[in-house]
């Protein structure tokens, strides 16, 4: 029986003797493997990015959103003709009355023009309370955050991010200055540290005012969100029930809010983005399949070009199995080399993505690397079976006569 080492060398010489064919197949294979790796690393990068963003919201966080989530069917409020009630500051205060709730931050949002001595800038104004700082794990570089005051006091103070400070004040001191926001004036009492970014709000671009001031500035009595921080992770379900019950009581028996945990949001995004990663990985894997078909065709041509050689090997005593093995080894060699080249392409590609977009942790997942190599080898062998069997079955006399 033909030794593996000799068979491999024989097949290797056959590959080397036909450089164009070999390079073509290597290219097809490596592009397939490379694209699986690059695309899944992009997907993984996006997933990790979003996950990290949401994690920075803070831990053990429960978010109260006005309006009933559609998932639980018909909205009872609209069915009986009552409009949903707004989320109010009193609702927020009511939510503090649970032993497991450590912080409650009502939250409002609106767009307005911010200006100081003729310098202007359009930005997002966030209204909240003293609690928001700790809840969001932000830091201060200068001054104070919003003061600990009654939740419904519309103090004319604001806290700004470093970008806002630089754009409006330049090198001059911002603390103590009076900013114009919309048609009102607010005194700058603090500058936020530039660490932190959450849900699209860059802390550097933040302007934060007391929630009651935001309500009157934008003339919206309702809240956009209420953030509730729970003392322990285990207490989250209890607190969620408490929130729903409290709001229902306060809203005439109608549960017209949606209560979500940060975990749930994270998990949803994680699921969606994982599915996306699998999907793009799968699509890229199709290119491997196409490479397999190419290999089959090229191997079929190779077999017919080498018909007389196969006849010769048979006349020298090669069994059908030996011929089959020689062709399959050639395919395995090609797929292996193609997979290695693809690995290099894929890893260099995802490195380039990380280099170009440093915020995107585009590392190829291990499963994608392993799966693409496996698929490359399996398609290579599978699609070579047909040509290999064709070669093995050749009639030696006819094969020898062919030219």
């Amino acid at each position: 029986m033909l030794l593996l080492r000799d068979a491999t060398r024989f097949s290797w010489f056959a590959l080397r003797a036909n450089t164009t064919r070999t390079l073509l197949m290597l290219l097809a294979m490596s592009i397939g493997v490379g694209s699986v790796i690059i695309l899944t690393s992009l997907g993984e990068g996006a997933r990790n990015y979003v996950t990290a963003e949401f994690s920075s919201l803070g831990t053990n966080l429960v978010i109260v959103i006005p309006g009933r989530s559609e998932t639980s069917g018909a909205d009872p409020a609209t069915m009986i003709g009552i409009t949903e009630r707004d989320l109010t500051l009193d609702d927020a205060i009511a939510l503090t009355r649970h032993p497991k709730v450590s912080r409650v931050a009502p939250f409002n949002i609106g767009a307005a023009e911010v200006s100081w001595q003729g310098r202007k800038r359009e930005t997002t104004i966030q209204g909240s309370t003293h609690e928001l700082l700790a809840l969001r794990k932000w830091t201060m570089t200068q001054g104070q955050f919003l003061p600990r005051a009654d939740i419904d006091r519309a103090n004319s103070v604001c806290v700004i991010g470093s970008n806002i400070r630089n754009e409006l004040f330049g090198p001059r001191a911002a603390l103590g200055q009076w900013l114009r926001i919309g048609d009102r004036r607010f005194r700058v009492i603090g500058i936020l540290g530039s660490e932190g970014q959450s849900m699209g709000f860059d802390v550097k671009d933040a302007v934060i005012i007391p929630v009651a001031s935001a309500q009157s500035l934008f003339n919206i009595p309702s809240l956009f969100r209420i953030f509730v921080e729970v003392k322990t992770r285990e207490a989250i379900p209890k607190v969620m029930t408490f929130i729903k019950n409290t709001i229902r009581e306060r809203h005439q028996g109608i549960e017209d809010v949606t209560v979500i945990t940060q975990d749930a949001v994270l998990k949803t995004f994680d699921r969606i983005l994982s599915a996306l990663t699998y999907a793009v990985g799968g699509i890229a894997a199709i290119s491997l399949f196409v490479a397999g078909i190419l290999i089959m065709n090229v191997m079929l041509v190779a077999v017919s070009q080498r018909t007389s050689e196969i006849g010769l090997l048979k006349s020298l005593g090669a069994s059908a199995r030996a011929i089959l093995n020689l062709i399959l080894i050639e395919a395995v060699l090609l797929s292996t080399l193609g997979a290695i080249a693809g690995l290099i392409i894929g890893h260099v590609g995802s490195w380039a993505i990380r280099y170009a977009f440093p915020v995107l942790p585009a590392y190829p997942p291990t499963w994608a690397t392993l799966a693409s190599i496996l698929i490359a080898l399996v398609t290579g062998v599978l699609f070579s079976l047909l040509p290999a069997r064709k070669a093995a079955r050749l009639d030696p006399v006819i094969a020898l006569a062919s030219h």
Binding site: F13, L313, G317, A318, V397, H403
Partner: protein
């Protein structure tokens, strides 16, 4: 020893049946030197391929060294070809990407013999065929005569009992043709059974036994008595 009894080999070409071998009975003893002559299409190559186990008969029995080879399966035939039969073709059939040396060692490679155990035999064959300084040349760097000598070295590397040559000088000039025939005869002198198909009457006349074929039959056999 070779013994053919009532051998037929038919080919179906469309709705026509070609009787390439038509009731052949033939015995060849070990160490004989036989030439097979006859017009084109008379069945010489078909007979040689059959003797070399490349082609099965349609009917009849073939006993080779006391084994009825008509009953063997593909793998057994392949193994027997490797060990017992050497082929030399008119068109050499060397693998162009392999050196002379590598072409010669192919039957040993196919037999699964370790590299270190091959070298010695390959060297002996190179010496015997006057190819020692051509060992690492590719076929396209060799003359026709040299190529055929590489093919002879390859055919005999497993020390087969039978050497079959189908028009071995057909593609060679007279001088290198003669040289090739002398090499084959040299091997015959060491005991190998040599069967040569040839067109050339002069070459045919050199053999001890001469068989003439016509239309798939043996027309004459000048020494059947050896059987």
């Amino acid at each position: 020893m070779i013994k053919l009894e009532n051998i037929h080999r038919n080919f179906q070409v469309g709705d026509q049946t070609v009787h390439a071998l038509d009731d052949i009975n033939l015995s060849i003893q070990d160490g004989e030197y036989v030439s097979i002559m006859g017009p084109s299409g008379s069945g010489k190559s078909t007979l040689l391929n059959l003797l070399g186990l490349l082609d099965p008969p349609t009917s009849g029995t073939y006993v080779l060294n006391n084994t009825s080879v008509t009953e063997l399966n593909e793998d057994q035939l392949a193994a027997l070809r490797n060990k017992n039969i050497g082929f030399v073709f008119q068109t050499f059939h060397l693998i162009p990407r392999l050196t002379a040396e590598e072409n010669i060692e192919l039957p040993l490679v196919l037999a699964g013999i370790e590299e270190k155990n091959r070298k010695e035999q390959v060297n002996e064959a190179l010496v015997a065929m006057d190819l020692i300084d051509r060992a690492s040349h590719k076929p396209d760097q060799l003359s026709g005569g040299q190529r055929q000598r590489v093919a002879i070295a390859r055919a005999t590397i497993t020390k087969p009992s039978i050497l079959l040559a189908d028009e071995p000088t057909g593609n060679l000039d007279q001088k290198s043709g003669l040289n090739v025939i002398e090499k084959l005869e040299q091997l015959n002198n060491t005991g190998i059974t040599l069967i040569v198909v040839t067109h050339d009457a002069d070459l045919g006349a050199r053999s001890v036994r001469s068989i003439r074929m016509l239309d798939g039959r043996i027309e004459s056999d000048d020494n059947p008595g050896l059987a």
